[in-house]
């Protein structure tokens, strides 16, 4: 599905920033990078509507790193806040009380705790009502702002502060990651996409494409988290790239329910290469390697790409010795 795009190469990334450097987020934060790039594409006229998370703490009175509007709501109900802002602007413009030039793009921005867990009901309501808004979830796969506790986005095998790896529980978290992309797709959101900071052109084009859609639009952005995942802050982009190349983080979009992978890793890099870079998976390798757990992760990735390839007509070579 070729669409006209103003983004031919990464050099087309808008120069103008609406999120200032020097904010209070951690060095190497993939979340704030996603917000920054997202904002570049949307332009200045934005109302960010936020639920509790890492972005909340950087908006600390009397300072704001944003050149746009910001509203912190509550942990569970940022999409309802977006509903209020959208409806108010619409009704005031319709009544002639506000000029169209004051209109804003309404964007919910939350972490995975709000998007996958406590705020899912509110999001579901907004999707049902076909609310015209963007949702940007910076997904660092745990409750990062409170110190890295398990969320329903945490992948199988990750240790967190509430699912530590111990002799009795050697794998850490044993629940598989919730598939929020499919949840939104099942609820008939007209546009759902995944993003990775390492794949900038794909990122820019998807945000641009969302601008042509009316209704609820979800972006799930992989947000490398140096403090939570345990890696060097300079490695964020490399690590996100590895997540994509191993097939752990598929880049895809669903337009009116039709899924298309926007980047197909022809030969998957073994998941082990990704897992071993991070403290949260260290127990899978130490004191002794746990080949069954690593094989389980690899097996799920292989099965995912086999199924996706069969549907969309592409083939992905899985790592040697990890099955078909």
């Amino acid at each position: 599905m070729a669409t006209a795009t103003r983004f031919k190469t990464l050099k087309d990334m808008p120069v103008q920033d609406y999120l200032s450097p020097g904010n209070t987020l951690c060095a190497g934060c993939g979340g704030v990078l996603a917000v920054r790039v997202f904002h570049k594409v949307l332009g200045p006229n934005v109302a960010w509507v936020n639920a509790a998370g890492c972005m909340t703490v950087t908006m600390s009175y009397p300072l704001s790193p944003l050149k746009s509007n910001w509203l912190y709501t509550a942990f569970a109900s940022a999409p309802a806040g977006a509903q209020g802002v959208r409806d108010a602007l619409d009704v005031l413009i319709a009544k002639g009380k506000l000029p169209e030039s004051e209109n804003l793009k309404v964007v919910v921005v939350t972490g995975d705790g709000a998007a996958y867990d406590i705020g899912l009901q509110s999001a579901a309501g907004a999707i049902d009502r076909r609310l015209d808004f963007y949702y940007l979830c910076y997904d660092n796969e745990a409750y990062g702002n409170t110190g890295f506790q398990v969320s329903s986005s945490t992948p199988f095998g990750s240790a967190t502060k509430t699912t530590p790896a111990t002799p009795a529980f050697p794998l850490g978290n044993t629940v598989r990651k919730k598939d929020l992309f499919e949840v939104w797709r099942a609820m008939k959101a007209p546009y759902v996409a995944t993003l990775a900071n390492s794949h900038g052109l794909d990122f820019l084009r998807k945000v641009e494409k969302g601008g042509t859609v009316k209704g609820p639009r979800m972006y799930i952005a992989l947000a490398g988290c140096p403090t939570g995942w345990g890696f060097d802050p300079r490695e964020t982009i490399e690590l996100e790239k590895l997540a994509v190349q191993t097939g752990i983080w598929p880049l895809k979009e669903a337009v009116d329910g039709t899924v298309r992978h926007t980047f197909v890793p022809r030969t998957l890099t073994p998941v082990k290469e990704y897992l071993k870079t991070q403290e949260r998976f260290r127990h899978l390798f130490e004191p002794a390697e746990k080949p069954e757990a690593i094989a389980a992760v690899q097996g799920a990735v292989n099965a995912y790409w086999k199924e996706a390839g069969a549907k969309e007509g592409f083939e992905v070579k899985v790592p040697a010795g990890t099955g078909s």
Binding site: A47, M59, Y72, T73, A80, G81, G84, L89, Q121, A124
Partner: protein
Amino acid sequence: MKGQLLTGNVTAAAAARLARVDYVPAYPITPQTEIIETIADWVREGKMDSRFVQLESEHSMMTAAGAASLAGARVFTATSSQGMLYTIEMLYNVSGWRAPMLLANVSRGVAAPIVLEPDHNDVLAARDSGFLQFHSETCQEVADLVLLAYRVAEDKRVMLPAIVNLDGFYLSFTREPVVLPEQKAVDLFLPPYEPVAPLRASRPVSRGSSVFEGFLYSYFRYNTHAASLKAKEVFEEAAQEFERRFGRSYGPVEGYMLEDADYVIVMSNSFTALGRQAVRRMRARGVKAGLLKLVMVRPFPSEEVAAMLRGRRVVAVFDQNLSPGLGGIFYPEIAGALYNARGRPGAVLPVVGALGGKQTTAKEMDSIFEEMMAVDRAGKAPEPIFLMRADELTRVKKMVSVAEGSR
């Protein structure tokens, strides 16, 4: 002027329409639902120029309400009981945002056990949220207090959200004669809402920012408190204008047969009517009885309460609510208002009654005055009263035995 017969719920909806609200986010709950059904119908029939949207919970409803208010819309919504409890988190947020929207609460007791008829544990759960609170005795007061509440809430000296309370069933579903003001007169009394620092493209703002230092947090909290206190004066100003325009007068409290009263019962909301009848019966018996009604609950009218209860022999506080382990919720507020007042009453009698809308007989009401007199005669400290009649207790025992027998 002759009124039309309207339920409390339809009156609340009509007052919102007269206030020309822009936006009504809603969620159904008994006994409030008739309000949002009425508004939804008017909007879809083109009889009300507002946007109506049904959310998926009261928590989301209040989030949308507060957010829309910050974006510059005049907002109205309604809830009851569990819905009030479910959205408590957002009440604190919306008042902290200084978003002057209006919430009609149709009082209903709170679970467990589930009950449908009124007491005030729902609205008093919002007591500390920063919302202004106005409580109505009649359907007419519902209409008038909605208009007054907008006027006060949106005043630049206040900028706080408000709750107008009406009792479920006793007002919500009861038709009473109501005079609805003319739209033109309302427009003069209540000019369009002017938001402070709304979310705008031309001048972006940050709302709900975090503060991580106690002194700054204290500043904003004190500021909310000061704005709430200011609301009393603003209400009195608005009430004077309201009386000039519409001929009905309101104050933070209302006295009934108070002038020479020795024994005064303090009440709120629709059951106040039972208190008035009891006062008249007592007067017929030669007892100097009187009543003080709370209209404004937040800010709490401490000075008015102290002034109007000065010099009484005994005061009874009728609490239609219960804080288990404490007793009634208004009692300590009234007692606190009186403690440092000169000429405070000889005793203050705590009474809890009418929970879950429990029918309250004339005899029960009279017994409160009789107990006030007994306390006065004996010069003793009053014992708290929890109203329950012998015939009710007999029925309770029978039902308990049925429940036990089915094990």
